[in-house]
């Protein structure tokens, strides 16, 4: 993953939409702008939708890793101003 250590972590593999994004937002609230949140999420609907919702709220995805066990790990900079 990135050379910077994440400042926070949230596992949203135990919940479904929309609680996936709700828990992600709660975890982001704990961080300052510019800090990195690491998120573990399921393949399928969560990996389709959570990154898109994060981008809509101006957070920047900097890493995406397939854990090859049905889950992904992504890293996002709080309000890093999304761009693609």
């Amino acid at each position: 993953m990135s050379e910077r250590k994440p400042d926070g972590f949230v596992d949203i593999t135990d919940v479904v939409c929309p609680i996936t994004f709700v828990k992600t937002k709660v975890a982001l609230e704990e961080l300052e702008k510019g800090q990195i949140l690491q998120i573990k999420l399921n393949e399928g609907e969560p990996i389709q939708n959570v990154p898109r919702s994060l981008k809509n709220e101006k957070h920047k995805i900097i890493n995406l890793e397939n854990n090859n066990d049905g889950t992904y790990t992504i890293e996002v900079i709080k309000e890093g101003l999304a761009e693609d």
């Binding site: 929309p18 994004f21 709700v22 709660v26």
Partner: protein, 275 residues
């Protein structure tokens, strides 16, 4: 504050809104709204504000639930007939959401008690859900004097209107309407009738204003009067100017003490019977 998993789920549709989010929901849970009158307007407003997770809701009403209320006052049920409206209202709100601390004031708002009621919990926002002009002016004057924002509204027959007052941000109710009409010149909804759904439309707009004020989202209905004609299904938003000579909020206010205007005799008699 820490949300429980149940709260995250309950408020998830708020939290995923970019303009509300976790912080906005926290503001709602810390918010305090006073609803004066739990009738046609106050009933839907109280239900939605309770569901939204407003942490403290005050209910002011001296009446008991009457069978004739149930056509529009959706917070009360058939089994509540005869029960104090504030108690019935509290039970309905808490049946939806136990997070809400409902404070009940089982009395009619008057010049003697209204300031104490508003100060009791230092309410953030006040909703006028009353059905008569004297109390509407009383609520306006008390809110101007205590520098509290409030939502005015009225409904009759197929028509409704609402405006929002925020201290220093636009006209008050008295800037526009000056004085109550003489008793009995204007019918109350007890005499004129009202389509039950009118309170749902207008009361829900009042609740929306309370939520927007507390979360600081969007633009409030300050400086405007919104009118609704259900027969034509027409909304009009009329721009209003403040009156620097207003007797209560103007540059040299002449009203410095609250006034209990005379309530139309029939309206008191009716309210004893009809509620």
């Amino acid at each position: 504050m820490n949300f429980t998993n149940a709260q995250l789920e309950r408020y998830s549709r708020h939290i995923i809104l970019e303009d509300i989010g976790v912080k906005g929901q926290e503001k709602l849970l810390n918010g305090k709204v006073l609803i004066i009158g739990t009738g046609g307007l106050g009933a839907p407003a109280a239900l939605y504000l309770g569901a939204a997770g407003i942490g403290t809701i005050g209910l002011v009403d001296g009446d008991t639930v009457d069978l004739s209320n149930l056509q529009r006052q959706v917070i009360h049920s058939s089994q509540d007939v005869g029960k104090a409206k504030v108690i019935s209202g509290k039970e309905s709100i808490n049946a939806i959401n136990e997070d809400v601390n409902v404070i009940t004031y089982q009395e009619r708002a008057t010049a003697d008690n209204i300031k104490d009621i508003i100060r009791d919990q230092d309410y953030d926002f006040i909703l006028d859900g009353t059905d008569n002009f004297p109390v509407k002016f009383l609520i306006n004057d008390a809110c101007v004097m205590l520098k509290k924002p409030f939502s005015h509204a009225g409904i009759i027959r197929f028509q409704g209107q609402t405006m929002t007052y925020v201290p220093g941000k636009g006209p008050c109710y008295r800037c526009i309407f000056k004085n109550p009409p003489p008793p009995d010149v204007v019918p109350t909804c007890q005499q004129a009738g009202v389509l039950g759904v009118m309170g749902g439309v207008i009361g829900t707009i009042q609740a929306t204003e309370a939520i927007k004020y507390i979360t600081d989202v969007g633009n409030l209905l300050t400086g405007y009067l919104l009118t609704y004609d259900a027969k034509k299904l027409e909304f009009r938003k009329v721009k209003l100017a403040g009156d620097k000579n207003c007797a209560v909020c103007g540059e040299n206010p002449t009203i410095k003490k609250l006034i209990d205007y005379e309530i139309a005799a029939c309206s008191i008699a009716d309210s004893k019977k009809i509620g």
